[in-house]
Symmetry: C2
Subunit: 657 residues, 2 copies
């Protein structure tokens, strides 16, 4: 953490009259003169306050409210602003996540333009524009100038944002480090005017401070544009904005991105599908998820007048008959008035709720990426030879529905790359290129890439616990497999249990880890089959080569004979060879047994793609994916070259430090 958390930086803002000076202790090396000189300075402000030990009264005078903005300003590392590089990435992440959420809620195919300008060595400006619904004028100040304000916290529904902190925190970080306000332009429709705001966040009050507010002309029709200037650092490779966008494109094939980097290069990520993710549905809490105190609160606040109605309306999975049973167990009836329920009864009701068997929460609140979208994403983003993906059925942890998806890419160009990007300094180029390729884990939560704190993440632990040797990959105990493989893991949930506000790692629940490992196993098995087949085919095509080698010689030898048709003769010999080594064309199942062509077709379609070394999916399988995949693939090549150059550059500069 070279340039990490600097609470001191912000403590300045929140000064309080000093306490009476204690005698400077002996064990502190400070010149007498210094002490002497520093006293008057301290003295001035203390005149007012009583000296000597504090009493209840003097202490009361010091008590005051701490605004959540002050709190996070000082604890900014909790929000992902603990060093310059991470600060930039976090800001981009918050801006893009909000943009995607807004577009999807409005049913618009997202089109996001991101730009990062370098103003000086450690000064950057981030600009992010979307084609979303825009934000109504009155809401802009609060959404961007107030922490803990938003629309997503108060509902049980899958979305990227949860807390209503992110984007305003980014703005606050910019303000604290540069003194520059955040700039927002929003347009809610073609006919509507665009509003331009400049906002500073008043940390003492956690309130927006409107610096500028006017109507402006913009070339675009609808959407929101945010601009933040901040002290930051820009890197490439692992844990960089590049990696974030790459992975976001993979997990959001319905979104189109353009990214203009500080050195002016422009990158385009066209969308891979015209289909929006399924609209998710908000659910009610499940009775088995709640606690007694919460139940009491709900009883106070419900709109229902009778307990039966309350149970049906405010919870999911409670039918009128079930509600009846519950009330009976609690010694009341469904017609009992809610306002007559005393604490004792409430406790009985709570017990009854816990003792009654109920259906698991409904899961249409989730919108998984889908195995095919993951495949097409991997095909676009990663140059391998084998791809497979699988989506688990939804399930539940602690009353929260969730769903796990896994994609695996193997071989091809992956051979070269290195892995284990689990250093939170975001330092890159750590590993030498010639090291044996190790597996790489790409993590997502509600379609958002997670780039930090890998080893603390449930997904990573699951990968380590998987027995990859069974699938033909080498793996040391307690380590990730040493093989050219990329493992993509996505958790979709109405509530992702993050280990910190910076939302960098998924907490390690047993139910979650179990699901992840099951999904990995599914993909692993398919990979195993492929590797076994490959081995056998290699064996037989060797034999065939031998045959071919001799054919021509035989042909030559028989030249002399009369009525000899050279071509026909070769043809017959070749077909002979083909038959003799027919195995080379045959597919094998996991047990190495032959399988019938029809069967084959199905198998290959089971969310699995095998690509020739050129990296283009075989024509037969293209149907599986958006037609872009091929050309974007091409476009991608150039880009990768660039990025690679950048990476090595970065590695150098990193060494310089």
């Amino acid at each position: 953490m070279d340039d990490a958390t600097a609470p001191s930086a912000t403590q300045a803002t929140f000064e309080f009259p000093a306490e009476p000076a204690a005698p400077a202790p002996e064990n502190i090396r400070m010149p007498q003169s210094a002490k002497a000189r520093s006293k008057p300075t301290q003295g001035k402000k203390k005149a007012a306050k009583a000296s000597g030990p504090a009493s209840a009264e003097t202490m009361a005078a010091q008590q005051r409210e701490i605004s959540v903005a002050e709190f996070f300003a000082r604890n900014r590392h909790l929000l992902g602003f603990d060093n310059k590089r991470k600060a930039l990435l976090t800001s981009v992440k918050e801006a893009v996540d909000n943009a995607l959420d807004a577009c999807e809620e409005a049913g618009v195919l997202p089109e996001i333009h991101l730009e990062i300008r370098q103003l000086s060595e450690d000064r950057f400006r981030m600009i992010c524009r979307d084609n979303g619904p825009g934000i109504v004028k009155q809401q802009i100040p609060n959404i961007f100038g107030k922490l803990l304000y938003g629309s997503k916290f108060h509902r049980l529904k899958m979305s990227r944002g949860q807390q209503g902190i992110g984007i305003s925190a980014a703005g606050m970080y910019g303000l604290l480090t540069t003194g520059k306000p955040v700039s927002i332009v929003s347009k809610t429709g073609a006919k509507k005017p665009a509003h331009h705001y400049k906002l500073a966040i008043d940390t003492k009050k956690n309130k927006p401070d409107i610096i500028e507010d006017r109507e402006v002309e913009v070339p675009w029709e609808r959407g929101t544009e945010i601009e933040i200037e901040m002290v930051a650092g820009f890197n490439r490779g692992r844990q960089s904005v590049f990696e974030y966008i790459d992975q976001t494109a993979i997990a959001n094939p319905h979104a189109a991105f353009t990214f203009k980097g500080p050195t002016g290069e422009l990158m385009e990520y066209p969308r891979a599908t015209e289909e929006l993710p399924r609209e998710t549905r908000e659910i009610k809490p499940h009775p088995h998820g709640i606690e007694l105190g919460v139940l009491m609160k709900m009883l106070k606040e419900t709109r229902a007048t009778q307990v039966g109605a309350f149970l049906q309306q405010d919870f999911s999975r409670v039918s009128s008959s079930v509600a009846g049973q519950i009330c009976q167990k609690a010694g009341i009836t469904a017609r009992t008035w809610v306002n007559t329920v005393d604490p004792q009864t409430a406790e009985k009701l709570y017990q009854a709720l816990q003792d009654t068997r109920l259906r698991a929460p409904s899961t249409d609140c989730l919108a998984p990426i889908g195995a095919e979208a993951i495949l097409s994403g991997l095909l676009k983003g990663i140059k391998a030879e084998f791809y497979t993906a699988s989506t688990r059925p939804p399930t539940v942890y602690r009353g929260n529905p969730f769903q796990i998806e896994v994609g695996v890419a193997f071989g091809g160009d992956l051979g070269g790359s290195s892995s284990s990007d689990d250093d939170d300094n975001g330092s890159v180029g750590k590993k030498a290129k010639d090291e044996p390729a190790a597996a790489r884990v790409i993590r997502f939560a509600n379609r958002v890439p997670l780039l930090y704190q890998q080893s603390a993440c449930s997904t990573y632990k699951s990968v380590i616990e998987t027995k990859w040797n069974n699938y033909g990959l080498s793996q040391a105990r307690g380590a990730i497999p040493q093989a050219p493989v990329v493992i993509l893991i996505h958790m979709a949930s109405v509530w992702v249990p993050f280990t910190s506000e910076s939302k960098e790692a998924i907490a390690d629940y047993d139910e979650i880890r179990k699901e992840i490992k099951l999904a990995i196993a599914e993909c692993g098995r398919r990979l195993g089959i492929y590797l076994r087949r490959k081995k056998r085919r290699a064996h037989f095509s060797q034999r065939r080569d031998v045959f071919h080698k001799y054919i021509d010689e035989v042909v030559e030898a028989c030249r002399a004979m009369a009525t000899f048709n050279k071509d026909e003769f070769r043809r017959s010999l070749v077909s002979l060879a083909e038959q003799a080594t027919a195995h080379a064309d045959i597919e094998f199942d996991e047990h190495g047994n032959m399988i019938q062509p029809k069967e084959q077709a199905e198998r290959t379609l089971e969310h699995t793609v095998i690509v020739d070394r050129e990296g283009e999916p075989p024509a037969g399988q293209l149907g599986l994916f958006a037609t872009e995949s091929a050309d974007t693939n091409g476009g991608r090549k150039k880009k990768r070259a660039k990025a690679a150059k950048g990476k090595t550059k970065k590695a150098k500069s990193a060494r310089k430090r």
Copy 2:
């Protein structure tokens, strides 16, 4: 994390009208009937809202403020309430920390009574009373019924609390899990009435909800008593309330504790010294610690009218002459009016501040425990044969003064115990007793024990990076030493950089880690000397035994002679033997050379104690410590026996799960 974070639990409280229902996806296994039935329930509330994709307007309608209480209620795991056992420990911790802070600020020797009553299998009531100054009536509701409210956040001064969250969060957890309000009784003086409050925290508004408010009679004269009922779990051994109190007593020898456990046993921890920790002094921010945006904010808010005065009054280490230089560099004068400073000038001023060399921040804001107090604490708490401690001089990280102290105890009864308590499930009895004893690390931040997330803590990393083999202990690469040793580490700072709100681990700053390792090295070297001496002395006393063996025989043999004085003869022979093996009495320095008695005396006094196997410090050294140490030592023995019993019990029940 068996019973970890349960956001679902609290989501219930914050419901919103549901979104239009999306078609249930095919891949969800849910009986048709279920879907059909669940619809009407969902339907009711939707009537009001427009269906179809959201617009800027409909989305605006959903925007709302999130109270910090709601936020932490749902993210309670961030505050240390992520499972039942931890919830109890965290509550105790917050209550005791506040009690100690209050007493010390009021200059009172703390006397704290803690009690934990078990009401049912997973229902507990925690009661904590102190002899502090009490709290003025008007402040009680906010201090206990409002998150982010307190007196410690807004000053640069060492204290246990920092955030103004802890105790109200504990109350909120109790409320959410049991529906029971927090109960507080406070008395600010012998003549003053005691006030009794029952408070519920209104999570929606983050405001206290006064359930009861009356005057009461209490048998005690002054102080505060808090009572929280909660769903919790009680354990012994590692990461238990016992361990927390044990360690708190070590780090706070000036405090007296009594602890009544759920099984009724009463434990007493008398104070080991009548001396309060040095009163600390609040400091101003150091110019090198701040950022541009913050400087601008300070310029806006300062009471000073001229830049020169502003720099001197609002920062530490800025004399009038230095202020002059800075202004000059910035192209202004000390007499320039503060309100005429525009952003450009502010930026120049900021640069000037950074470019000017200044003295490091003053460090009388720190109150270390002190090497001798640490020694007496270790002597009381740990039965070893060798003890040493050292306190580093204060230094600074990112503008924040801090100070590191380390204590090391070796051998004695430590042989048996096991270590590596780095599992956040708080599960105990993990290691078998017969395993080789491994080092144990005891961590403190501002005198508060840290019991969780050891491996994430800078202190632990420092222990691992230390080369213990140099000090005569065996250590595997990248592991803690395998030896019967306890390493105590304390960081005192105006701002401890915790890795999360639950304040469980110290962030890994280079400056901090460096200091910790230096302090460890100091103690390590002394341990090395002791172990080397021990070896040599053993060698020579062997030789002496041989001599003694023969003396008696010689004496017998000479019996016949006339004028033979048996005793005298033996005496002379013995003294002969003594001389021959004089080495056995000699001390050696680190190079194994003899050292003179005088020198010896000094050495042994260098914050080091060597105790005979009975565990009582030799009389000569008792002077070093409060006279209690001996008898409390005795009292302690009983207690340990008890605790041990408890541990094994616990281990069993853990297995049952």
